[in-house]
């Protein structure tokens, strides 16, 4: 009796598998175009042999693939060149009725060289401002795996007349210092990185070991043409006036005009040079007396 029950249950299950394979064993819904094959697993599957190309090609003519589904011109029909590849390398099914979900792992490297290097055969060229300024060779920045993120970018790929139009892609800095500069960005910055800039601060003041501070220690406003030395030093404006008046210096608002580094002697030399070059310098009334 037990055996009979077991055999009966087995038969019932086998019958269910044969009659309703789509709900009993199918791992997912077939795509819309294959819906009439829901109960005909062997139309595509060869038992224990996978999905043979022959079964796909019996319905889909290689030279015609893509004509109806993509609506593209004959130029992009490339499946004929892929006769040696397995259809299931790129296409799958049982992934829902949407035909687009059936593309499981398309690899551009399967395409022949002529097609793979002519991206616009299949892809439309981007029309945004950025792409209008760069060389049309997509592989310069993008690889075959994904459009984004880009594989690399080099400003050298910009069209020649766009090389110095930084603001066409980059937002101009909004601080007062940068807003008053009329020169192009490449005077101080390069295309490798924005920070650090190539601006020669040493021409104004040497940032030696005693003055290796952050910008806002001295430039405490948004205007980088302004600075103060009183943030760190103990001296005050009144004590500086007293000290510098001995030298006949009355204008102490622009320290770096004489002090171009932490070197005190350097300041004296700078002052002497300036006085030597211009005996009528208004900063030094004492020199005029000499």
């Amino acid at each position: 009796m037990k055996w009979i029950t077991g055999i009966a249950v087995t038969c019932i299950l086998l019958l269910l598998l044969l009659l309703y394979p789509d709900i009993m064993i199918s791992p997912g819904e077939l795509m819309e175009g294959h819906q009439d094959l829901r109960h005909k697993c062997l139309s595509c599957h060869q038992p224990f042999g996978g999905v043979d190309n022959v079964r796909c090609i019996s319905c889909h003519t290689l030279a015609e693939i893509g004509k109806d589904s993509t609506g593209m011109t004959d130029k992009v029909l490339f499946h004929e060149a892929l006769a040696q590849q397995s259809c299931s390398a790129c296409h799958t099914d049982h992934a829902g009725t949407n035909p687009e979900s059936s593309l499981s792992g398309f690899d551009h490297l399967l395409l022949d060289e002529v097609i793979i290097n002519d991206c616009v055969r299949c892809h439309s060229l981007p029309t945004d401002t950025l792409h209008q300024q760069v060389s049309p060779t997509c592989q310069n920045c993008h690889d075959f795996k994904a459009w984004k993120p880009i594989a690399s970018f080099d400003h050298a790929y910009l069209l020649p007349d766009r090389q110095d139009k930084c603001a066409s892609c980059h937002a101009a800095p909004d601080d007062e210092y940068h807003q008053q500069i009329q020169d192009n960005c490449d005077k101080c910055h390069n295309t490798t990185q924005w920070v650090p800039s190539t601006f020669a601060h040493n021409d104004f003041f040497i940032l030696d070991s005693d003055h290796n501070a952050k910008c806002n220690v001295c430039h405490n406003s948004n205007n980088y043409s302004e600075y103060t030395c009183y943030g760190c030093h103990e001296h005050t404006a009144s004590s500086m006036i007293a000290e510098h008046s001995e030298e006949g210096i009355t204008n102490i608002t622009d320290c770096v005009s004489c002090h171009k580094s932490a070197d005190e002697d350097g300041a004296e030399r700078n002052m002497e040079n300036r006085n030597g070059g211009n005996q009528n310098d208004g900063n030094s009334s004492e020199q005029e007396d000499d």
Partner: protein, 188 residues
């Protein structure tokens, strides 16, 4: 302490531990992006479960070697671990009915196994011991049966479970076998 709490509760916790282990392993596979391992765990789990049936063969004297007690322990451990791996393999992917039936039968089979011979023997012994103590203490038969009514109901329910353990195991094996065959047939 009632048999329900003394015997059934720990095994219920063991059953819940199995479910919890599955969730943890499944989470780790997703976290480390190695969900492909789950497919292979199906094979490993199946091998463990199949190997656990050595006890069933020994019990029915189809093989002569091996301590039945040791093989019973092996049956329990291998079936439990195998069930965990098979459940991880199944994941929470609602596709075809056949593999899901196999998973449901697996869950029922493990539950059935817990109330199988090991638990049943202990519960029976415990019930008999309680009955003997009560009778020796002077209680009459009617009073003893009244006091042990709930325990007797528990043991009776477990006996029903044991009766259906073999058909459940058969159905689980059949569904799993059909699942394996259809996967091998139609796998690309």
């Amino acid at each position: 302490m009632p048999i329900l709490i003394r015997q059934v509760l720990p095994l219920t916790l063991l059953y819940l531990l199995m479910i919890f282990s599955v969730i943890v392993i499944d989470y780790l596979l997703h976290h480390f992006k190695i969900v492909w391992v789950g497919r292979h765990l199906g094979l490993v789990g199946t091998i463990l479960v199949v190997f656990s049936f050595v006890y069933s063969l020994r019990k029915r004297r189809l093989i002569k070697n091996g301590s039945p007690k040791q093989l019973l322990l092996l049956h329990e451990y291998l079936a439990w671990i195998g069930a965990v791996l098979l459940l991880v393999h199944a994941g929470i992917h609602f596709n075809a009915i056949l593999p899901w039936l196999a998973v449901y039968m697996l869950l029922i089979n493990v539950a059935s196994g817990f109330v199988g011979k090991y638990l049943l023997r202990n519960a029976n012994q415990s019930l008999a011991e309680s009955r003997r103590v009560l009778l020796e203490s002077g209680s009459d038969q009617e009073e003893v049966e009244k006091k042990l009514f709930f325990d007797a109901v528990t043991v009776g329910a477990m006996q029903h479970w044991r009766v259906i353990h073999l058909p459940i195991a058969f159905l689980f094996g059949l569904l799993s076998l059909l699942h394996i065959i259809t996967v091998l047939m139609f796998n690309r």
